[in-house]
């Protein structure tokens, strides 16, 4: 029998080799963003400079921020009260919701995009960022509420009971007492939603039209098919690297909290 330590070491080494292949496309992307011709490797910041000084691309970045932040932020006031009720109250409705909400993500929402498009066209939310925010936040709202409820359920009830004895109203109770206590859960869900909304382009492809409102992911998809000459390809890579950075940073910082989301 080969000693366990050696097996473990071997497996570790293999794993890291595998990891190298796993993320090579990203490395490739980053390397090429620093050069100006497709298959050569040099180092120049020209792509980044022209990207960051282009008001159009900065506008796309801004739109992506607004949509992602807005979607994640709006979920806090909308989902937290429901999450609290799911955790603390009892009734047939709540029991049913507790069964159903975690599976709400299983509805393929790409499916209803056509219907949302028609709906928005009629209502006048077409081609607006707020319309996008509403859709994104509504879609994962039940799931986020359920996440909140699992965190709240793990809190000891005595604090809340004490607060209620002192005459604390329900709204205050939820937002001023419970919210800080489940901060990790809030932040984890917030970052998770943010990353997902930041990365997706298909909803925007359906619901957004004019230049002012395009989000970065959508712009990248449009550019994907029209990269003409070598110089522009590297520019697109630089744009991609910039695009990847916010979700990456967020993920690195808040990783623990995202992992905790499904813990209960």
């Amino acid at each position: 029998m080969i000693p366990r330590k050696i097996v473990q070491a071997l497996v570790t080494v293999l794993f890291f080799i595998f990891l190298a292949f796993w993320i090579y496309p990203l490395l490739n992307l980053t390397l090429l963003s620093f050069s100006t011709k497709t298959y050569t490797v040099e180092f120049t910041l020209r792509n980044y400079i022209s990207l960051l000084s282009s008001p159009r691309y900065l506008n796309y970045l801004k739109n992506s921020f607004i949509v992602a932040l807005g979607s994640a932020a709006i979920q806090i006031p909308v989902c937290l009260p429901a999450g609290y009720e799911l955790a603390r109250h009892k009734s047939k409705v709540i029991a049913f919701a507790n069964r159903f909400f975690p599976f709400s993500l299983a509805i393929p929402w790409t499916v209803i995009l056509v219907s949302v498009l028609i709906y928005y066209l009629r209502i006048g939310l077409y081609d607006t960022l707020i319309g996008l925010i509403f859709h994104h936040s509504a879609f994962s709202a039940p799931f986020v509420a359920w996440i909140y409820s699992t965190f709240i359920r793990s809190l000891p009830k005595d604090i809340e009971e004490a607060a209620q004895l002192d005459g604390c109203g329900k709204a205050r109770l939820i937002f001023q007492i419970t919210l800080p206590l489940i901060a990790p859960g809030l932040i984890g869900a917030f970052v998770w939603v943010f990353i997902n909304v930041w990365n997706t382009f298909i909803v925007a492809a359906f619901l957004i039209e004019s230049e002012e409102n395009i989000v970065f992911a959508q712009a990248l998809y449009n550019a994907l098919t029209y990269i003409m000459s070598g110089g522009m390809l590297n520019f697109a890579y630089a744009a991609t690297v910039i695009f990847i950075t916010p979700p990456m940073i967020l993920f690195i910082i808040f990783r623990k909290w995202i992992e905790q989301i499904l813990i209960y």
Binding site: I159, G167, C168, I177, E209, A223, Y226, S229
Partner: protein
């Protein structure tokens, strides 16, 4: 504990909490319902759909007495009508500041020809601003293959756009939605010679897009080949194939699979270009038919069309001069790029709109923008080598006034400015000049332009159909089944013809 101290401050009673929470809930639901219903009626109860009828041609006559000698170095045009005086609407009041929103696809960030065209546009804006200081242009970019349907949706929803570019292929769809304003009253103010010179353009000549849009250029499909690869294969670099047998022979000589190099390539994988730049040029090159007047598909019933598709299939499966992997790449630009990289010798999906791009990549010099001494470097263009001698051609992108425009008069001023011969002459995407009377400029009396004019003489515009994109989709699958799955040509064509007709024509 700090928390208990916090609690003491909150003395909201339960009743107050109930009423606030209840009010919030009821308010949200109620406002949601109200907003939904109100918005529904507001958005839906708009003006009834404007039905644009194709108006009768007014006093503009098509001058057929355009005599042109193509073989010689000069092109002479003898118009039979004299120019009438330009009647401009008098502007008595001091013009107020107007901003026109212009939707097009020349996004400079995409580089290549887009940037080249955008630089030209900036010059046009500048010149226009000098003459009309109160009108400014604001650009908004769209990807070129989404521009048309986004304009249609914009019309429906009321997004304010003044000027836009549009594709003639989907004009029937545009007419149904009413995307553009009728330009007839404005066209009356143009000099007759200008109208005649534009009327020559196939899009107007065949009444395809008249009178809602002005053709800005003339694109025709042409052949392009790599001189250096020809030379390596022992062929004369300046002699292109003049018929299908030559094409096959030259392709065989330049096919070197071990080097990853092939004789020919085409854009069969692209959703739209498979139809526009392979199917149509080949079918019409053999004299076949694609759709009838209603727009129903008839290509399987046309023996020439079947022969054309058989020929395409043979290039892959019989003579093996084309690489399936290369020709089925989903994006046409990738295939065009591979020509630049020398991965194939002859590109069968080329058209005059790409001349400027290839020039910027060193394929030739002095063709786009045109000069009096063009030089072929690595590549050369030639006439379409199929029996009828032509592929397709139409007035490229059209400039139109969008139906939602609040400033149509000012928009018209811009259009009028841009189509002035001296302004439009430098338009890089122009390919062949849109206006006939520009053809006798000295810069166009060169050999490459002679070839292009020759093609332009005979072309038909791309087939229009209310279901244009859908037709492009069907041919994409058809090619896949025939070439990659090896299904029999005529039966597969019939299958797709019937599928298309059944789905869209009932």
């Amino acid at each position: 504990m700090a928390r208990k101290g916090l609690l003491r401050k909150q003395k909201l009673s339960r009743r107050q909490a109930l009423s606030t929470a209840g009010k919030i809930a009821i308010g949200v639901i109620a406002s949601g319902i109200v907003a939904g219903v109100a918005g529904y009626y507001a958005g839906g109860g708009g003006a009834p759909l404007k039905t644009t009828t194709i108006k009768e041609k007014e006093t503009v006559t098509v001058t057929k007495t355009v005599t042109q000698t193509v073989s010689g170095p000069t092109v002479t045009i003898s118009p039979t009508t004299t120019a009438t005086s330009v009647s401009t609407t008098p502007t008595a009041t001091i013009p107020t500041k107007v901003e026109l929103k212009f939707a097009h696809f020349y996004d400079p960030a995409l580089g290549g020809p887009f940037k080249v065209n955008h630089d030209y546009l900036l010059k046009v804006y500048k010149g226009f601003a000098e003459e009309f200081p109160n009108i400014s242009i604001k650009e908004t970019f769209y990807p070129w293959d989404q521009l048309d349907d986004k304009m249609m949706v914009a019309k429906k929803v009321g997004i304010p756009i003044d000027l836009c570019m549009a594709s003639p292929q989907v004009w029937l769809k545009h007419r149904e939605v009413g995307t553009f304003k009728d330009l007839t009253p404005y066209l009356k103010t143009l000099p007759k010679s200008l109208i005649d010179s534009i009327m020559w353009n196939p899009s107007w000549r065949f009444k395809a897009t008249y009178p809602e849009g002005i053709p800005m250029n003339l694109h025709v499909s042409i052949l392009v080949w790599r001189r250096d690869l020809f030379e390596e294969a022992g062929l004369d670099p300046d002699v292109g194939p003049s018929n299908i047998d030559d094409l096959i022979e030259f392709a065989k000589k330049t096919t070197k699979p071990e080097k990853g190099q092939y004789g020919v390539a085409m854009t069969l994988g692209d959703k739209i270009q498979n139809f526009q730049l392979v199917f149509v040029p080949f079918v019409w090159g053999y004299g076949g038919e694609i759709v009838d007047e209603e727009g129903k598909a008839v290509f399987a019933d046309s023996p020439e069309a079947v022969e054309a598709v058989k020929e395409i299939n043979d290039l892959f499966n019989k003579y093996k001069v084309a690489s399936k992997e290369e020709s089925f790449i989903p994006d046409a630009t990738e295939v065009w790029k591979r020509f630049l990289e020398g991965k194939h010798a002859i590109n069968l999906s080329y058209f005059t709109g790409l001349l400027a791009w290839y020039e910027s990549e060193g394929m030739w010099k002095g063709i786009a923008p045109p000069t009096e001494h063009p030089v072929y470097l690595k590549a050369r263009i030639g006439p379409w080598p199929l029996p009828t001698g032509y592929g397709w051609g139409h007035g490229g992108w059209h400039l139109c006034i969008h139906a939602n425009s609040k400033h149509p008069d000012e928009a018209w001023e811009f259009i009028k400015y841009w189509i002035r011969p001296e302004v439009i002459a430098d338009y890089p995407d122009m390919g062949i000049p849109a206006h006939r009377d520009l053809w006798n400029k000295p810069v166009y009396q060169t050999e490459p332009y002679r070839i292009m004019f020759q093609q332009a003489e005979k072309v038909k515009p791309l087939p229009t159909s209310k279901f244009y994109y859908e037709l492009c989709e069907q041919t994409k699958y058809m090619f896949y089944e025939i070439i990659i799955e090896g299904k029999p040509v005529k039966e597969t064509m019939k299958k797709y013809q019937d599928t298309f007709n059944r789905k869209y024509y009932g």
